[in-house]
Amino acid sequence: MDNFLRLIVRAQRIDRRILYLLLALCIAVPIAVDVPQPRPVVMPETQSLYNTIESIAKDPVESKKLAIVCTNYSGGTLAENQTQNEAIVRHLMRLKLKFAVFAFATPQGRELGRAVADKLAEEYKYVYGSDYVDLGFCPPDAIEVRLKAAVDDLPGAFEKDSAGAALTSLPIMAQVKTVNDINLIVEVTPSETLPPWLQFFQRAGEKPIPTVYCPTAVMGPEKYPLLKSGQLQGMMLGLRGASEYETLLGVDGFGHRGGASLSLSHLLIILLILLGNLGMFAERRLRRQQGRA
């Protein structure tokens, strides 16, 4: 018994490099070998995001308007944000909704967002300029001003698309004049980029624009109050949210494939925490025994 306790006590101080190696294996093995796995349970906030887009498509007036997909991520968070972005764009394209790609946190965001739209456009026969448009990149310092101006004159505020064509020359913009011609704001982001939309755009028109949020898992929790306060109509939380959304759409994307690695790594951490605590209690017990002896 004592030998067993001593073994557990030693497990309390596993060298960190062994922890790192274990983690690398937990992540890498499921990627190298395709593991079958069950579908996730869909969370209410993900379902609500899905329903928001569905109801826009069903509304004869709203479905004619333009959605804004703001892709504020960079290469660092591709795994989460790109997967979310693909799921959203796929959904919009399935429902034949028009949308604009836009970014203001990093110029990379615009490039990445545009690349996703271009890739899926082939599949859904979307045509640039009439089904979707690229509003370009706006430097973060200027976003406040840009959005304030866009409230009354959207094409005027953004002026040109990323290729330099005047927005007014594109067929998709024919019906888009002001904030009232926007039916949805999608914010895909790894950072604090939601406030400009909420402060200067969402409620600047005749009625609030449905706004949905696709943050990395770390940014999500602090925004739950906004779901309750009605400032957000849905949220796709990190890679898990993307995987749930893929379930709703019935597709197998990266969200689904990465799921096994996610599960294993979480399991590893929980086991390690368990081991560490057992070790601590075992040590206390040993010490007490020694104290008695």
Binding site: G76, Q199, R203, A204, V218, M219, E222
Partner: protein
């Protein structure tokens, strides 16, 4: 909210008025009480240990621009520097934002002078590490592994790089004190650091360390302001429970017409 509604004007004016009144009365010499904030007493201890071990101190004022939060962080690091200067001890302070460079240099030079050892101050100990978040993190991690600081002081705005810095410092056995208003990073500081300032303890810290009447007064004003908001929340919940969204409407986007409608309803539709 694009422009102020009337309730917003009144609330902001009242809050600002309370804070300013508290500041001004503190500056006129009113005695002020401030409760103890545990982590702050550890600062001297950490500096002392670094001196004993003969290894440098590492500071960071985070990723923020030259803004309110960063300036608060700099004030805390400066007071650490004054203590360190008394023992002619080195502080390394890597910077992420170009505009922070001249301000940090000036502040630390002043701090070392105040501690009596301006000769120990060296501009090379305040390196600028690119404008990019993770390049900064990579640079700080490298500095930590090479210089093996005995104590770290991490104050300011932090994002995901917080854990990179804190874990590397943990590996070299540094005693760590951190404080940040970025709530998302607090749990990681709790996990990796010895003392952590949470939420607006961060704003209280400078007042507590410097004992400046202005800052103490401001803190008292903030307390009264928070009590006011809390009082309105409690009153609002009671009113909502009895069917009146009055307080909820005050904090809404709609301006006077809502209240006109409310009073019409309250007075029987006149």
């Amino acid at each position: 909210m694009k422009h102020a509604t009337w309730p917003a004007r009144i609330i902001l004016l009242v809050l600002s008025g309370i804070i300013l009144y508290a500041i001004l009365s503190a500056r006129r010499g009113k005695k002020l009480y401030l409760r103890r904030i545990p982590g702050l007493n550890a600062i001297e201890e950490a500096v002392g240990r670094a001196v004993e071990m003969g290894r440098p101190i590492l500071g960071s004022i985070g990723l923020g621009d030259v803004d309110v939060i960063t300036l608060q962080a700099l004030a805390i690091i400066s007071s650490v520097a004054t203590t360190a200067a008394r023992f002619a001890h080195r502080i390394v302070l890597p910077l992420r934002n170009a505009a922070q460079v001249p301000i940090a240099e000036e502040a630390l030079r002043a701090a070392y002078t105040a501690g009596g050892r301006p000769d120990v101050f060296n501009e090379q100990d305040l390196p600028f590490l690119s404008g990019e978040q993770f390049a900064y993190a990579a640079g700080v991690a490298g500095i930590i592994q090479r210089e093996r600081p005995a104590a770290t002081f991490l104050f300011g705005t932090f994002y995901a790089e917080a854990l990179i810095i804190a874990e590397n410092a943990n590996q070299v056995g540094a005693i760590q004190i951190a404080g940040t208003p970025s709530t998302t990073q607090v749990p990681f500081f709790i996990a990796a650091c010895d003392y952590v300032l949470i939420g607006d303890e961060y704003y209280a810290a400078t007042a507590y360390i410097t004992r400046q009447p202005t800052l103490l007064g401001s803190l008292i004003g903030q307390d009264i302001g928070k009590m006011l908001l809390l009082g309105m929340i409690i009153l609002g919940v009671v009113l909502v429970t009895f069917g009146s969204p009055f307080i909820a409407n005050i904090f809404g986007d709609k301006d006077l017409e809502t209240f006109a409608a409310y009073f019409r309803a309250a007075t029987g539709g006149k």
